[in-house]
Amino acid sequence: MVSRAALATLAVLLLVGCAKPMRDDLYVLMPDQDGKTGALSVESGGQQAVLDQPYASARVTEPGRVAAGPITEQEARRAFGAALDAQPARPTSFILYFLEARDELTPDSRQLLGRIIDEIARRPAPEIVVIGHTDRVGPVPYNDTLSLRRAERVRDELVKVGIAADRIRVEGRGEREPLVPTPDGVAEPRNRRVEISVR
């Protein structure tokens, strides 16, 4: 009687005996920096694995042969250290607030500006987008001009500390994109702002 176990052993031996694997592919899902984990589908030769847990992985030794299973953080680090070390800094953004009807920063935001400058200075080849906004007091054309002046004011502060002007794009959106929606004519400090995106 040929036992089921013996057949299984034979099958494993046959698989192992099939020369060297043709490929050494490894796919690993990482936890996101914000603690959530997305999902990755790995499709090869009609076979599919869906990875949806941190450090879930799939190995493909030849097209159509997909083996899923977890690996450790250390194993991932060992296999991908150089690629992980070369990851660019995460894009980030900041909001600075302004005094009513003016292109002067609030005292709190003036302090924050120093931190933003430090953050930009740390980044190689930074790309910076500065977008000015207003609240809904005053006519639309006035606010268009004011929003752009606010953005330009921030740009000038960045240029003053040595950040190249050609790395900074400036836009004014007027009162069109309030952070806090209000009826027209309402003063809202949270809408008097400049958003700075850095990457």
């Binding site: 796919y27 990482m30 936890p31 996101d32 790995v42 499709e43 090869s44 493909v60 991908f80 990457r199």
Partner: protein, 150 residues
């Protein structure tokens, strides 16, 4: 009124100053060791700040690694002995729609997906010679290679 006209001029000038290449996809932010960009049969060194376009192939040497930030905030970084092709990149910065397809021919790759994958689950694909990866807004690692040829 004059000020309005002036600010309009500034806006137009700022738009005009943006790099004209519609194929601009990203910029090199990290470059260590030998890293080259192959474009239309030419090889250019991938220096800090260099533009990466759709159609480019990024190649790292035995001591090389490279990190690229794309216009949709996707981050791709490759380790040594890697060949990464940017097959397709289209990104509408207003709607966040478009598509991003790349191929890792060999080597190692770390990916942080950006606004494209967040907007639409099918917008981002990474291929290797053996597999196609579908990205649902996430971070992941890819190694591919034929051991006999390495």
């Amino acid at each position: 009124m004059n000020r309005m006209v002036l600010s309009l001029v500034v806006v137009v000038a700022a738009l005009g100053a943006a790099p004209a290449g519609a194929q601009e996809a990203g910029h090199v932010k990290v470059a260590k060791g030998a890293v080259q960009i192959e474009r239309a049969g030419q090889k250019v060194p991938a220096t800090l700040g260099a533009v990466v376009q759709a159609g480019d192939v990024v190649v790292t040497g035995a001591d090389g690694s490279v990190g690229i930030t794309f216009l949709d905030n996707s981050l791709l970084s490759a380790g040594p002995n890697s060949v990464l092709a940017i097959d397709r990149f289209a990104f509408d910065s207003t709607t966040h729609q478009g598509s991003f397809e790349s191929s890792l021919k060999k080597g190692t790759l770390a990916v942080v997906s950006g606004k494209l994958a967040k907007q639409s689950p099918d917008a981002m694909k990474v291929k290797t010679p053996a597999a196609v990866l579908g990205v649902r807004g996430t971070e992941f690692l890819v190694r591919t290679g034929d051991p006999k040829n390495d």
